[in-house]
Amino acid sequence: MSDAAAHALDHHEPVTSTGIPNKKVLMWAFLGSDCMFFGTLISTHLIYRKISATVGGNFLDIRDVFDIELTSFSTFILLASSLFMALAVSAIHKGNLTSTRWMLFGTIIFGAIFLACQVYEFTHFVYAPGNELTLSSYRGEPHVFGSTFYVLTGTHGTHVAIGVFWLIGWLVYSFTGKMSTSDAMDVECCGLYWHFVDIVWIIIFPVVYLMEYAF
Amino acid sequence: MTKQIHLSKFPQRFTVFIYGFLLILLGSCSRIDHKQSALDPKGLVSQNQYDVFMLSVWITIFLFCAVGGCLLFVLWRFRAKSKEEAMEVPEQMHGNSKIETTLILASAIILVILAVPTLQGVVLMNRVPDPNDQATLDKLELDRSQIEDAITVNVTGKRFFWVFEYPQYGIVTANELVFPASKAVRVNLRTEDVIHSFWLPKLAGKMDLMPGQENFMWFIADEKKIRTGIDKDGNPYEVDIPTAMPSVFDGKMRQAIFAKQAFTDEFEAVGGLFYGQCAEYCGNSHAYMSFRALAQTDKDFDEWVLKFRNAQNPNLQPSAYSSQNNYDKGDVVTFSDKKLGDDMSRDFRAVQAVTKGQNPETKPDAWEKVHSDDFEKGKALFSSLQCVQCHAINRTGLGAKGPNLTLFGLRTSLAAGWMRNDETSLDKWLRNSNDIKFGNLMWNGEGIDDRHPLRQLEDDDEKVSQLVTYLLDLK
């Protein structure tokens, strides 16, 4: 069956060649591509990490500026939000609108907390007395760590922010009275995206933060 | 549905024309020893690159003929000759895995033929042979001393010229790389701005100059090839050393090139002269960033190094005359000379032993002028026109913005290899270099505008000729 539209009109899930809905295939393709985005950013960071260690011959310890407790906390929060997301998807599949709403709300709040932590972290790093880490310098010396760090974590933050806005869109939509199980697939796509963003953070957190403490 | 289809027949005349044309094109490249030609290798490394290239050329010509011939045969043999035939339905064959597999294996084998010399070539390009590895040396027909006595040159690329530093001798020159023909030359490549690429086609291929990284290449010239000339009929003949590799230090190289050859000649008459160029796009004047390499016999090279070291040794620069000193015959001092102008001084050489207080003014007989008046005036202009802000003369130093001009009179080329270094060209260059090399930094660089004295030279015959005299007499 070729045309998604023709079938959806009859309020059926479109019959596709693979049986997977179009939007889910699209989402998976996008996530595959997004892997390469983060792959590039993470490898940039890893390549520069060693070079970053010294500036003007002095060894610089990036741990002086990191606040690992806060980041661990926000990591936990972000991972927990994935649970809410999964529950939201499950709820909409069952047609439980109230539960969907609450779970979406929970995801949004946790996502927002993560973003708030990141905003705090960025501001704190930039103005850390004696250890200022900016886009182009560390402790006032030209440095690459700030460049790779902010652009990598910033890109991830942007992903989270987009996800939060998307979820807010669903939350608002749930109050229009139009939301039904037929939207489950769309919410699921949103969920795929959200889980992906979480998984990326699971990679970023050890690579960018924990590794500074291990090696 | 209609079964009438249009039939276009085999385009015979067209094909014949095309392949005829390709053959003519191939055949007409008869002389290949152009100044910057990679097809005329004169060194070990470039010869290896050339050999692998020619191997690949023959492989591909073979493949092109085989596959192309096969294609032509198929097109001719299975062409539809009539409308009826064009409507026939041939057997609908979907493939033949045996043929396909055979062809895949065959192409893999052909690639192996190319892969082996490639890998050997990679090693040769990147590593100077170990002088203790006699087997390799024998294979490459090298003498142990050729490797052991290798010289090192640090090349620094700048927009848009080259700095050549010889760390073993502590000297710095620009745009012309003088090297001993019999010795390996290790080249360390660096850049202070963007990426450049050091391409010396007849000796060693190319290697990029990457910012923040030091790259390496090496080459060794082949004296026998340098000494082989080609006459008008294309036959090789042997040339004696003074003709093939005239000495640089006494200006013979420059004279030989200027005497034998017009700048516009396509083929090089002096074997020891090599052309090179920046091969990685580096900005507006990338095209103008060329250089030369001059091969020397060991003896001539040593002489050149000695002369250069003396010229760049600050301790050997003439000091100001001091009335407290005695001077021996031959000593050179600087002393004021009112005839040149107010506050001007010049070099004097003692023609006899001079005692305290006998300065060139009080005892003119004891001193002679080292240089002509124009030279001394030109030298003064070189400072007063702010040339020295960018060009170092008689001093080492990498930091200078422009090319080092030590012993400029021995150079064969001007403006990073762009033109012949003689009175006429230098005259033109000094008057308006922007006309010759549009966008060059001497004319357009930072801090140079219409008020800069350099830009006032255009109609100032006197100053220009004094500068020309000064620069070309630095030898």
Binding site: V25, T44 | L71, R127, C278, A279, H286, A287
Partner: protein, 647 residues
């Protein structure tokens, strides 16, 4: 990333919601509004094609200026900076604004027809990628009018030449325009590729298994995967460059700890798959044309597809062969050298299979076939010189010389462009319903073939005798003059050939005197040839049920059980989604955002840097609103009731 939200209410309620903001163009919309709001893959394909042909002429004029400057030594047709801008713009235009969108045009127009679909999976997203491509093209060419003019950095913009530190004109904006236009074009390609992948995987007609798909569709799928995996690398590289230039980060600033080498790696990790993104569609086209004009199925169908996939896969493992002279060390260069040689094998396989296809055929030499044969021979030469470059010692001489210029023009003109012209001559009868003039077509081929070889064959020799690429001038005494003059003459012949060709393509849509084409003028093999020419709005009145690989051919010549069948007509008729303004609005929003980013920084009276994001944010808001409205409006639609025979 915008995700199309397909929400379905009944069509009539849908239109009511939207009436207030942007009235949705009705079913019978015509003229400019139709073209601006269309979501029909065929119209989008045509617009891709027309825009790309326009840029082909622009890039061609740039090329002719370059060739004029090189006519003889020390020419002054262009200044050095103008010349450098020309070759940068020529390269960028030809790669991103000509070959890629021309391929996209064919993907758009043909792929749904070849798999038996009524449209792509996300029609409005398809429109968005078209408009992103158009605005990317505009942004790139706007650069001529602002500080510093167009970029003069070469099409691969090697760091650190792109760093503001080394700008040769104060406040040079060229590279910024270049960065942002590439980002827009990348977005366009990514969106289109997600769409194509979904369409091919999910929207095949019943019976259209993967191994029954036409080769061109297979190549579309492979290229789409290459795009979604390769473009992120350059997107991130460009983001990093943009941060370097705008916010002073140090990614590529070697004086502050960055590494210019990184740019080259990131660029070529994208750049080499890009080469295959450019050539595989042309290979797909040729693989369709040769069987038709030999009246035989493609020899070794599976192997051709498999080798296409292998080429795509290995394309990610050979990027460093562009960097043999950057000092990567013995091991890395050797490894990449061998891998590069290996990639020649699947490429050779394709050539063997094309010849195998012709074997025992009944070969006709119509214009599409001539272009296909031109493709094979020219691409063969380009491939052979490519093998030479895979050998490091050879590359040490060839790199950045005119030999390389000759090589990639043999691949990109002799290969990609010939293949795409082949596609035009082959499929324009299907698109316009008219046969092109065969004589004029052969004239175009002759001019292009001769002009092309005259231009680029001598460049091999020029490179070998020492002419470096990207030099605006050369000195006398190198022996470059004669061959450059031959090349320049050739380039004008090539230019005339291309211009006539483009004229012929465009006029085919308007010239009523041309012969009508009928459904299947070439007696061709694939599914699209079962449809009327030009193809109806709804493509297939009834969904076809596919029974064999070359369905059109099997319907005519195959056994009865291989004839395709059709699903019964639906009571609802054919549902057609409505046109929409929102893709265009979203693209305009992105365009404004980019313009806002380009001009956000200024220096105030006191010499302080002032950043003003008002315009950029406004653009962002517009495109966000566009996306939201887009997801709210849904596809909506109307119904058509074609007769049995009307397709």
């Amino acid at each position: 990333m915008a995700i199309e939200s397909l929400k379905y209410a009944s069509p009539d309620t849908e239109t009511k919601i939207e009436a207030k903001v942007f009235p949705r163009p009705s079913q019978h919309t015509a003229g400019i509004v139709d073209w601006l709001t269309t979501i029909d893959h065929k119209k989008i394909g045509l617009m891709y094609g027309m825009a790309a042909l326009f840029f082909l002429l622009v890039g061609g004029i740039e090329a002719l200026l370059i060739r004029s400057q090189l006519w003889s030594h020390n020419m002054e047709v262009l200044t050095n900076r103008e010349y450098n801008q020309m070759f940068t713009m020529h390269g960028t235009t030809m790669v991103f604004l000509v070959i890629m969108p021309l391929s996209a045009a064919f993907f758009n127009y043909l792929m749904p027809l070849q798999i038996g679909a009524r449209d792509v999976a996300f029609p409005r997203m398809n429109a968005l990628s078209l408009w992103c491509f158009v605005s990317g093209g505009i942004i790139l060419n706007l650069s001529w009018f602002f500080t510093g003019g167009s970029p003069a950095i070469g099409w691969f913009g090697y760091a650190p030449l792109t760093d503001t530190r080394f700008a040769e004109v104060l406040g040079d904006m060229g590279p910024d325009f270049w960065i942002f236009s590439l980002q827009m074009l990348g977005l366009a390609s990514l969106l289109a590729s997600f769409n194509f992948i979904t369409t091919i995987i999910n929207m095949r007609a019943p019976g259209m298994t993967m191994m029954r798909m036409p080769v061109f569709t297979w190549m579309t799928l492979i290229v789409s995967f290459l795009i979604i995996l390769a473009f992120p690398a350059i997107t991130i590289a460009l983001v990093e460059l943009m941060f370097d230039r705008t916010y002073g980060t140090n990614f590529y600033d070697f004086l502050e700890g960055g590494k210019p080498h990184l740019w080259q790696h990131l660029f070529w990790i994208f750049g080499h798959p890009e080469v295959y993104i450019l050539i595989l569609p042309a290979m797909g086209i040729v693989s369709e044309v040769i069987p038709v004009f030999s009246r035989k199925p493609l020899f070794g169908y599976g192997l051709v597809i498999f080798s296409g996939a292998i080429i795509g896969f290995m394309g990610f493992a050979v990027w460093s062969h562009h960097m043999f002279t950057t000092g990567m060390g013995v091991v890395a260069t050797s490894a990449f050298s061998i891998l590069t040689m290996l990639i020649a094998i699947p490429t050779g396989v394709k050539i063997f299979n094309w010849i195998g296809t012709m074997w025992d055929g009944r070969i006709r030499f119509d214009t599409p076939m001539l272009f296909a044969l031109g493709f094979i021979t020219m691409f063969m030469i380009g491939g052979f010189t490519g093998i030479m470059h895979s050998s490091v010692p050879i590359d040490a001489q060839h790199q950045d010389s005119y030999f390389v210029v000759a090589h990639f023009h043999y691949v990109l003109i002799g290969g990609a462009l010939f293949g795409l012209f082949c596609g035009f001559y082959f499929w324009l009868p299907k698109m316009t319903g008219r046969m092109l003039n065969e004589k004029l077509g052969k004239l175009v081929f002759t001019l292009m073939f001769i002009g092309f070889n005259l231009t680029f064959f001598p460049m091999h020799y020029l490179g070998m005798i020492g002419q470096p690429r990207r030099t605006h001038s050369y000195n006398e005494g190198h022996g470059f003059e004669t061959w450059n003059q031959i090349a320049t003459i050739g380039s004008f012949i090539l230019g005339i050939g291309i211009a006539i060709g483009v004229y012929q393509f465009v006029s085919a849509f308007f010239n009523k005197r041309l012969k009508p084409a009928g459904k299947n003028p070439w007696d061709a093999r694939t599914l699209e040839w079962t449809l009327s020419s030009p193809v109806k709005e709804y493509n297939f009145a009834r969904n076809p049920i596919i029974k064999a690989r070359d369905q059109a051919w099997e319907n005519n010549y195959g056994p009865k059980e291989n004839h395709s069948q059709k699903e019964p007509l639906d009571d609802h008729g054919v549902h057609m989604p409505d046109r929409s303004w929102y893709p265009l609005l979203t693209a305009i929003g992105l365009f404004v955002m980019v313009i806002g980013m380009l001009f956000h920084a200024s220096i105030d009276a006191s010499g302080e840097l002032v950043r003003n994001y008002t315009v950029a944010i406004a653009g962002g808001v517009v495109s966000t609103v566009g996306i939201i409205m887009w997801s709210l409006e849904g596809p909506a639609g109307y119904h058509l009731f074609p007769k049995e025979k009307e397709e």
